[in-house]
């Protein structure tokens, strides 16, 4: 895509983010979830698309963010916004720490072993949270009520998640233009050669996972407050929904491209919102079928398809 249309899309998204919730107040929550989905897809793509490490475990950091905010807000006795702010700080801190520790243990594992290991990590985290009484065990945790006026709450979380998504996207965009971005691609394309060229691959990989963890935990604390309730397996460590969606959205849009994950998140979220209520209890069956169809028939994604089409037209 040319430079010009890049800015067009950015302007359109920014306008949607700022004006959308005001113009279409009925859809505020949908907008908030859209920004959350964009954070999911963009952060997944840092490892999955750019670095070639396909993770099913990123949702763990989202869950840490959810639970950290909930525990801080429950136990510290602070007013709502102070509690939320402290919860977000502690949550992101814990998530980055977890990413550094887990990363130094897991990021040496390559290929499909890494994918399965992170899948195990997700399920284990959900099961531990579901058995741990301090965080409400299987019945989850409720978050404090938003103190403001009716309707203000949705607006607040929609704007904060938009800000998180925008920061995340802009930071990634800048990172991909630096040497760090090139190093990520080198690790994806040939890990051993990247090592041989003298790249310090382990710190690079861990740092990349820490960035993803930071934004996931931030959005986790906000999303938990927006939803108002966290369930260990269905909200916080939701490997079978959010955890797979982030992979699916990045692949649908085109992994390893700048706009692909964003585009995939938008297309996936809109499709889901339109069809979900209509499917009546068959949603998760449809999700399974959708994964199979996208992965088997459309692995190059929308951006890949676009590039192929343009290449063919130029050749003709």
């Amino acid at each position: 895509m040319s430079r010009l249309s890049d800015w067009h899309i950015a302007a359109l998204l920014a306008l949607t983010g700022i004006a959308g919730p005001l113009l279409l107040p009925a859809l505020v929550t949908q907008f908030a979830f859209l920004w959350l989905m964009i954070v999911f897809a963009v952060t997944w793509d840092i490892l999955g698309g750019r670095m070639g490490y396909n993770s099913f475990g990123n949702i763990v950091f989202f869950g840490i963010g959810c639970y950290a905010a909930a525990v801080i807000q429950r136990d510290m006795g602070l007013p709502y916004f102070e509690g939320l702010a402290l919860g977000l700080v502690v949550g992101t801190g814990l998530a980055v720490l977890a990413a550094a520790l887990l990363g130094s243990a897991l990021l040496g594992i390559r290929g499909h072993y890494f994918a399965i290991a992170t899948l195990g990590l997700t399920v284990a985290s959900g099961e531990i949270a579901a058995g741990w009484n301090y965080v409400g065990a299987g019945s989850g945790m409720a978050l404090p009520l938003y103190p403001g006026a009716l309707g203000e709450r949705e607006l607040f979380f929609s704007y904060s998640l938009f800000a998180v998504a925008a920061c995340c996207f802009l930071l990634c965009r800048w990172l991909y233009s630096t040497r760090f971005g090139l190093a990520l691609n080198a690790i994806r394309d040939d890990h051993d050669k990247a090592d041989a060229m003298g790249l310090r691959t382990t710190p690079i990989k861990i740092f990349a996972w820490c960035i993803a963890a930071f934004f996931l935990a931030l959005s986790g604390g906000l999303a938990a407050n927006m939803i108002g309730f966290i369930d260990p397996r269905d909200v916080a460590f939701a490997g079978a929904t959010f955890g797979v969606w982030m992979v699916l959205m990045a692949i649908l849009g085109g992994k390893g491209t700048l706009w692909g994950p964003v585009l995939g998140a938008v297309v996936f979220h809109i499709t889901q919102e339109i069809f979900w209520t209509w499917l009546l209890g068959w949603q998760r069956v449809a999700l399974g079928a959708l994964i199979v169809i996208i992965v088997v028939f459309f692995p190059q994604g929308i951006m890949g398809w676009w590039a192929e089409r343009r290449a063919r037209r130029e050749a003709a």
Binding site: A105, G111, I116, A117, A137, G288, V296
Partner: protein
């Protein structure tokens, strides 16, 4: 938690009961793991839908028993129907991802796993199901140790199936074709082996083994729509520890895992048993990676 641990130390008979029951359940894990090793070795894919095939096999026996079939006859029925299901899954999805990037096949089979899990939830309901095979149980050491006969049967059948599989892969024409394809698909094609049919048969055989495992699981234990992924992870773990193409190793690792898991479930509490399974898998992969890194540094 520590109370249970001291209980194990003070009363060896309880320890014996927990370990023996775990070993017998482990035979079911070994059965599902043979299938995973087969598919991994021959098709070079990690079959994440493995556990759902086990669960489906269990439901087939459960439904057949509702219609008045003897539970033990449910076993061959499950295996036969699951062979067909496996063949269909291969023809529908797997053959399209066999020669692609391994992550594509992981994601595709993960999608299938969610699909089947949710279908099972809608069709059979979320209740925990089991079938009483009415075989009684044996007691010894003054009733401190109780072993259900059906678990003993499951154990013998799993060992028998392992031996039969070993013989089949060595002696039968199809078994030899499967091994040839596993070693070198291109050379096998040149020598006139229809590798596509070998793949389909291998996947069907895997599904049949899972079906048998599920049938035994519903008799000796319980079945639940969401129990698939733990079986997948157990099979994966067993194959990682034993290695692809090592039937004896798979039996040993499967039994060991069963015993370990049962002891962990007893000490940590049943609510942490699944967490233990997944965390153990992560630890095994980390350990494997560290060992490989050490070997690499020796070479330097």
């Amino acid at each position: 938690m520590l109370d249970n641990l001291s209980l194990l130390v003070e009363f060896p008979a309880i320890t014996l009961d927990v370990v023996l029951n775990g070993l017998l359940i482990g035979a079911i894990f070994a059965l599902a793991a043979y299938g995973m090793a087969l598919v991994w070795g021959v098709l070079n894919i990690v079959n994440v839908v493995q556990g759902e095939l086990v669960v489906l096999g269990g439901y087939i026996t459960f439904v057949a028993v509702q219609y008045g079939l003897h539970p033990l006859l449910g076993l061959p029925l499950s295996a036969a129907i699951m062979y067909g299901v496996g063949w269909l899954i291969y023809r529908g999805v797997i053959f399209r991802v066999v020669d692609r990037d391994i992550f594509i096949s992981i994601l595709a089979t993960f999608g299938l796993s969610i699909l089947i899990q949710q279908l099972a939830n809608l069709v059979f309901g979320a209740e925990v199901r089991s079938v009483d095979a009415a075989l009684g149980s044996v007691h010894f050491l003054d009733g401190m140790v109780t072993l259900a006969n059906v678990k003993l049967l499951a154990f013998l059948l799993a060992i028998g199936a392992g031996a039969a599989l070993w013989l089949f892969l060595r002696k039968a024409r199809l078994g030899q074709a499967i091994r040839a394809t596993a070693q070198n698909p291109r050379a096998a094609r040149i020598l006139g082996i229809d590798t596509d049919r070998v793949f389909a048969a291998t996947y069907g055989l895997n599904a049949a083994l899972c079906g048998a495992a599920g049938s035994l699981a519903v008799m000796a234990w319980t079945i639940h729509p969401y129990m698939g992924l733990p079986y997948t992870i157990r099979s994966f773990m067993v194959v990682v520890v034993a290695g692809v193409g090592n039937v004896g190793g798979v039996v040993a690792a499967g039994l060991g895992l069963g015993a370990l898991e049962n002891v962990a479930g007893f000490v940590l509490g049943v609510e942490f048993q699944i967490a233990f399974v997944f965390a153990l898998m992560v630890l095994i992969l980390v350990w494997r990676n560290l060992r490989a890194a050490r070997q690499r540094s020796h070479l330097e």
